[in-house]
Amino acid sequence: MTDLSETEHKAKLDEFISQDLIRVGLKAASRDEAVCELAALLQKHGYVKESYAQAALDREKEFPTGLPTMDVQVAIPHTDVEHCLKPGMAVGVLAQPVEFTEMATLDRFVQAEIIFLLSITVPEDQVKWLARLVDLFQTPGVLLQLKDSPDARACRQLLLEKLRKEEP
């Protein structure tokens, strides 16, 4: 990761997980609808180009991103860096789960209850956050807690706390 001061790093993480990009109780009838809603947030706030939504949907069909995580199943849709403008993560806590195909399969499915739609510009710079996101998936109870967030603010606070965590 690029060498950053603590303050710079905090500012970058604050922008990566912006409250503008979080929807709690998101109503979506399908995977594509959920991805489009969240992609529209990323676009509205200048994180991705107009081409992002379609590119993410296309990639999802070829390389699915549903994860059979414990407690609560999730999906981490994303696409190539050329569609992204700055690093960010739109989060949708869904009112009703939507079906995603499980990563690395075409015939297994997960009922995703939280979607993390990623805008990644420099993978090597953002991988630490992604690794901590994955740690969070693997920590019992945290996804349940996220799912039960009363509002976007609470959801963001929890994510910030978990992603800010220092390396062991």
Partner: protein
């Protein structure tokens, strides 16, 4: 070598996890991330392929393990055991 659709998020994250776990087990290996499109040309340079893409019928002639457990944590120990055995063989 870790491969996924675009080499952006899934494989990069799996590779990061793999590097840490290799270190924990005191195993020496170079971990490289590639996207799926370049895999055909690059696979022959790998000793082990950590694969995060569906239904790839290609035989790369390299032992292949499933990389999804690096992201979910589920079934991770058996995958690491497999990688350790392959590295030592």
């Amino acid at each position: 070598m870790v491969a996924c659709g675009s080499g952006v998020a899934s494989s990069e994250t799996a590779a990061y996890k793999l590097r840490n776990l290799l270190q924990d087990r005191k195993l020496q290996a170079e971990v490289r991330v590639v996207n799926f499109r370049s895999l055909k040309n690059l696979a022959s340079q790998a000793d082990i392929l950590v694969h995060i893409a569906p239904n790839d019928p290609t035989d790369y002639g390299v032992p292949t393990v499933n990389g999804v457990p690096f992201l979910t944590g589920m079934g991770l120990d058996p995958v690491m055991d497999e990688i350790e055995a392959l590295l030592k063989s």
